[in-house]
């Protein structure tokens, strides 16, 4: 057996024994987030960017606005696209190559949170109906994985979008290095992720807690009372009452994070 998995087994035992007393190894309360720090405008070439640290987890996000053609069924709408790269430098388990299911799920869940919140009016991304629209690519890069990449990527994506500006257009072409209006964000969608460990629900799991968890639940909120996305993962299960508990904490925690982004 690999050395790393023995270490994770030992850490799991410790986490489970703490959990029996309702405690976490790092001293946090069950519903407590790690410290969050956000740095905006980390890339000059990006149309909007941010670096987010959630405890030791670190994710970068950059927005690039490009010109494209609208989908035939929505000729007066632009669109967004969220990507996620699990950089091998962030975790020895990550490998080079095309995105695998972990990265795909991460990107799609962050995408869903932003898209379904309708924070970006896709009609405002239209330049010429049926011909030319803006496509906002929001790409996230995980540079250190200490768990809960979902929330870190969600905060980073939102922070980058809040700072994003449209490139300047001249004769229908992008003028490089010059910007015009800001991208309008009518809502502030944020993910809140929970892990079920030893029958208890914890907020914002670390990597070691993710290794020990049975199941994971993420919930995106747009404000104090509206939900916009769910994703359950992991091999275990949740009772409906446990989902309710998560939703309640999600509203409470996202409210505090919203003040930072």
């Amino acid at each position: 057996m690999k050395m790393e998995s023995v270490i994770w087994d030992l850490k799991t035992d410790r986490i489970l024994s703490f959990m029996k007393e309702g405690k976490r190894v790092d001293g946090r309360k069950l519903d407590e987030l790690r410290n969050i720090s956000i740095e905006h405008d980390i890339s000059e070439n990006a149309d909007g960017s941010a670096k987010v640290k959630l405890g030791e987890t670190e994710v970068l996000a950059g927005v690039k606005m490009i010109l494209g053609e609208p989908y035939p069924d929505n000729p007066d709408e632009g669109t967004i696209s969220v990507g996620a790269e699990l950089l091998p430098l962030a975790n020895p388990e990550f490998e080079v190559g095309p995105p695998r299911e972990g990265a795909i799920e991460l990107a799609r869940v962050v995408d869903r949170g932003i898209r379904e919140s309708k924070a970006v009016d896709f009609k405002s991304l239209c330049i010429t109906e049926g011909e030319k629209v803006w496509i906002a690519f929001i790409d996230t890069y995980v540079t250190n994985d200490d768990g809960n990449l979902f929330d870190a990527a969600s905060i980073a994506a939102l922070a980058a979008m809040n700072k994003a500006k449209f490139p300047k257009l001249e004769d229908g072409k992008i003028v490089k290095g010059e910007h015009g209006e800001k991208l309008k964000m009518s809502k502030q969608p944020l993910l809140s992720t929970f892990a079920k460990i030893g029958g208890k629900i914890v907020t914002d799991p670390t990597l070691a807690e993710e290794k020990a968890m049975d199941a994971r639940f993420s919930c995106a909120t747009t404000d104090d009372k509206t939900l916009c996305a769910f994703q359950k993962g992991g091999s275990g299960s949740f009772k409906a009452s446990e989902i309710d508990e998560c939703i309640e904490t999600a509203f409470k925690n996202a409210k505090n994070v919203r003040k930072l982004v």
Partner: protein, 253 residues
């Protein structure tokens, strides 16, 4: 979505666009043991959705680095046939299919005694043959039947349904028209009915907590109806064995 759809009344006098009640499922048909070369299999029709599932295993998990010395792994492959959607689907698996495969495989793990099969893999192959909203829940419902058909010990069957919102109403088992509503919310949910454990849950669209409370109740109730049909489908296979008149084969000498 297109502007003309905004005039649709999604629920009128208690009836939906296809005549169903708000808590009514589309017609379902389930059959197990349909594939001779699979260890377990199921075929399911759910409204216009058609899905076939084959299970292989438990068998040695290969490549070897995929093996887990503590428990077996479930490898779930959800794919849509190129002709199963209005426009031809690219046969290359897309990001949607990869994500659905991941969460659906995880949704089945809780039902299986994977600790009994260290270093093994249970492969579940799903092919969507025709689609009209709700294929992932149709696939999961069929996959659970195929696992039972393979003779695998299970804690419970996993049954799944889509629940959501269209035109401001919380409704069960959305069809494509309802899923395309301007305010549509889609919530695929899977449970193990005995303990009402939720093993798959996704959602997209804007929903209040109160609407969620209503939706989860409706979803669990829908799942339980599906579960009854699953049990019937499994019993039917063995009823045939018990009743030799239904079998073509003559007695073995």
């Amino acid at each position: 979505m297109a502007k003309k759809e905004e005039t649709i009344e999604y629920v009128k006098n208690g009836k939906r666009v296809d005549g169903r009640k708000v808590d009514e499922l589309r017609p379902l048909k389930m059959e197990v043991g349909v594939l001779p070369n699979a260890d377990g299999s199921a075929y399911l029709e759910w409204g216009q959705n058609k899905v076939i599932v084959g299970v292989h295993g438990p068998k040695e998990a290969l490549p070897k680095h995929k093996q887990n010395p503590y428990k077996g792994i479930v490898r779930y492959t959800y794919r849509m046939a190129t002709f199963s959607v209005p426009d031809r689907k690219n046969p290359r698996p897309g990001r949607r299919e990869v994500e659905i495969s991941k969460v659906s495989g995880e949704a089945l793990e809780r039902a299986l005694f994977l600790e009994k099969f260290p270093n093994c893999a249970i492969d579940v192959y799903v092919e969507i043959l025709d689609s009209n909203a709700g294929t992932r829940v149709a696939a999961l419902t069929a996959a659970s039947l195929a696992l039972a058909d393979a003779g695998l010990p299970m804690r419970d069957l996993v049954c799944a349904v889509g629940v959501g919102k269209a035109g401001g109403e919380i409704i069960l088992d959305l069809n494509k028209t309802e899923e395309d509503a301007p305010d549509a919310v889609d919530i695929p949910i899977a449970i193990m009915p005995r303990e009402e454990e939720i093993t798959l849950l996704q959602m997209d669209g804007l929903l209040t907590k109160e609407e969620w409370d209503k939706a989860v109740k409706l979803g669990i109730q829908g799942c339980k109806q599906i579960n009854e049909m699953q049990k019937e489908a499994l019993k039917k296979k063995y009823a045939q064995v018990e009743n030799p008149k239904d079998k073509k084969e003559t007695k073995v000498k």
